[in-house]
């Protein structure tokens, strides 16, 4: 048994607690009760707050503050131009630079973002998809500059393009070349960056777009199967990459449904992987996941109420056995979180961890009649939906026909209708409404940042060796047209000071771009 954080475990009133209550143990297949035997007794979940805004320098300061206050891992939010692989001085970036995350257009921006942060000690999660390979390559180059080799860095890139087509919208290339970039990254990391989670397959945004809990599980897992099939047809072995696959789920307001959702997802993943791929490594069929509480559940009305919502949701994620957790700030329906609201969000997790007792036993709600019933129901219904998608030719074909988008839109519409008809009550919105409200102060990103970044890029382009830049971009294009691994070429291009937008532009010339069906 793994070592524990404490020798004896008691309730607040002094009753001794066994690690697990009930007949089945956690840490054994099919992992319904958790992937580790001792769960949070050995190691608490990673409190990982997604942060990033404005310039690399400002975000760097926020990161250092969060680390100082007890956060264990970094989670980088990029602005939308970065997420779409556009430079800050691109015409399309107008009005967006530094708005919802940090702006990164070139290697020097990344250098500033990570300055003074020991990359061999923290693990870093990057919410980046279409250009994931390029941002990870930047991270690798900066680590190398800090004297840390590739095999020592730890972290996660989201790298999940399928849910972008379904729900989140920051896709660039058509599905096929996108899948190729993802498998290139799997392949490169399996050989060079073994501790990096190469994909975080996300139900979070599917749920935010309005899906039900069952749809969240089903669409996420069917996307995962698509990635696995793509990697296997590329010649990789299931045990080469499946242990580095991680998931990212939402946690909404219905406490018991959410706890059951995580339990059902773990069992379903184990069962599907075992039957379909017969892995040898037990880690290949273990569902590890990050959770973020539901942004969509936050109300703009009476924003302090959101602290209560976040607490309930975060507790559900912990009872469901999450590996890491982001708690939202109460003011996020109004704008970007302030330092104050971001601190309350982190403190909420610490209260659950240290004061509530929920972390003292594995799977505290296992055996509850309601939770076991819901676990079975979600398992069954999700499995049926996955089979429906399989019949359509898999997740990618279903997306191309707009199937998932349409299902989600219908569910979102039903929710809106229920709220409007008062069949569903939301405090502050159609129940307990206040007439006059005082709004909390909000954080405002620097509006001049776009201009500053533009000048910086202009200078960069003037100072660099243009012949080398063109050579690197040319190599990326010819590799894109062939079938070699793009990752090493991207590293070379970054070292030659090619910008994010230029590297993406070279790929676009070969891969083309795409627009997903809306699902109306």
């Amino acid at each position: 048994m793994a070592s524990q954080r404490r020798e004896d475990w008691q309730t607040l009133g002094g009753i001794d607690l066994p690690n697990i209550v009930g007949p089945e143990t956690s840490g054994n297949p099919p992992y319904t009760r958790g992937i580790h035997e001792t769960m949070y007794r050995s190691r608490l979940w990673t409190m990982r707050q997604y942060a990033g805004f404005g310039s690399a320098k400002e975000t760097n300061e926020r990161f250092k503050l969060l680390l100082e206050r007890g956060q264990k891992g970094l989670s980088v939010a990029f602005d939308l131009p970065t997420q779409l692989g556009l430079d800050a001085d691109d015409k399309l970036s107008e009005g967006e630079v530094g708005k919802v995350g940090v702006s990164i257009s070139c290697l020097d921006d990344m250098r500033e973002l990570l300055s003074g942060i020991p990359l061999d000690e923290v693990s870093t999660s990057m919410t980046i998809n279409a250009p994931a390979m390029i941002l990870l390559a930047m991270y690798v180059v900066i680590a190398e500059e800090q004297g840390i080799s590739e095999d020592k860095i730890r972290g996660t890139i989201q790298n999940d393009i399928l849910k972008e087509y379904i729900a989140r919208g920051t896709y660039v290339f058509p599905p096929e070349p996108s899948m190729r970039l993802i498998t290139d990254t799997f392949d490169y990391c399996a050989n060079n960056i073994p501790s990096w989670n190469t994909i975080s397959i996300s139900g979070y945004h599917i749920r935010e777009a309005g899906s039900t809990a069952v749809q969240e599980v089903a669409f996420t897992i069917s996307n995962a199967l698509e990635y696995i099939d793509a990697a296997i047809s590329r010649g990789l072995d299931i045990d080469d990459f499946a242990p580095r696959i991680s998931f990212f789920f939402n946690c909404h307001n219905d406490f018991f449904e959410e706890v059951s959702k995580f339990r059902a997802a773990r069992k379903l993943w184990h069962d599907l992987i075992k039957v379909r791929y017969s892995p040898n490594n037990p880690k290949s069929s273990m569902l590890r996941f990050h959770t973020q509480v539901a942004g969509v559940s936050l109300t703009a009305q009476q924003p302090l109420n959101n602290i209560s919502r976040v607490t309930i949701q975060a507790l559900a994620a912990v009872c469901g056995g999450t590996q890491s957790l982001h708690t939202n700030s109460y003011d996020e329906a109004l704008g970007l979180p302030t330092e104050n609201s971001a601190t309350v969000a982190l403190r909420t997790q610490q209260i659950i961890a240290e004061e509530s007792g929920a972390a003292n036993v594995a799977d505290p709600l296992g055996g509850s009649h309601l939770v076991e019933f819901l676990t079975d129901e979600i398992y069954r219904k999700s499995k049926e939906k996955i089979e429906t998608i399989e019949k359509m030719g898999g997740a990618m074909k279903a997306i191309e026909s707009g199937f998932q988008q349409k299902e989600i839109h219908e569910a979102a519409w039903k929710h809106q209708s229920d709220v409007e008809n008062d069949d569903r009550l939301i405090v502050g919105v159609n129940h307990g409404v206040l007439d006059e409200e005082k709004m909390p102060p909000l954080l405002k990103p620097d509006p001049a940042l776009g201009e500053k970044q533009r000048i910086k890029l202009q200078e960069l382009r003037k100072a660099r060796d243009e012949i080398n830049v063109q050579k690197c971009l040319g190599e990326i294009k010819s590799c894109a047209a062939g079938d070699g691994n793009m990752f090493p070429l991207v590293i070379d291009a970054l070292k030659a000071n090619c910008t994010l937008g230029e590297i993406m532009g070279a790929m676009k010339e070969i891969f083309g771009t795409w627009m997903a069906p809306s699902g109306f």
């Binding site: 997420q83 779409l84 009005g95 909000l442 699902g519």
Partner: protein, 145 residues
């Protein structure tokens, strides 16, 4: 049933969260209007061009990324410059309270935040069309005024 209008629902800027925009589009359809949905990531110029080609009476803009500050006023201005001063503009998404007055004075006639009901948006369409308060009008009225 009231008057039927042609309404553009557009997503300027780069964010890909279109749940709200789609729900509003559907509510307006069910209210008897003809809704033209543009899809994600439209530039100000493209939205104005769409309003022109589709001969729309209303343009609804959704942004959750904070780009509203720059893009909503720009779209109003381009509409005026293109001779589409009678088009009525409204917006929605995550729009901080403090940003609203600037948007109203640029010509936006309503801002709908999270939690807005469909019937409120339909009421706005009715009232605004009676006032004929296109982006080019002198009227300083806005919804909730």
């Amino acid at each position: 049933m009231g008057e039927r209008y042609r309404i553009i629902i557009a997503k300027p800027g780069l964010d890909g969260h279109d749940r709200g925009a789609k729900v509003v589009a559907r509510a307006l359809r069910d209210g008897g209007h003809e809704v033209i949905y543009t899809g994600l990531r439209r530039t100000a110029e493209q939205i104005v061009r769409t309003a022109m080609d589709e001969d729309a009476k209303f343009v609804g803009l959704s942004s959750l990324s904070g780009a509203h500050e720059h893009l909503f006023p720009k779209i109003c201005q381009l509409l005026r410059e293109s001779g589409l001063g009678d088009v009525i503009v409204f917006g929605g998404g995550i729009i901080p309270e403090g940003d609203r007055s600037a948007l109203y004075s640029s010509g936006v006639r309503a801002i709908f935040g999270p939690g807005t009901t469909s019937s409120e948006i339909l009421d706005f369409v009715k009232v605004a069309s009676m006032r004929n308060c296109g982006v080019g009008s002198e009227d300083s009225w806005h919804w909730g005024d």
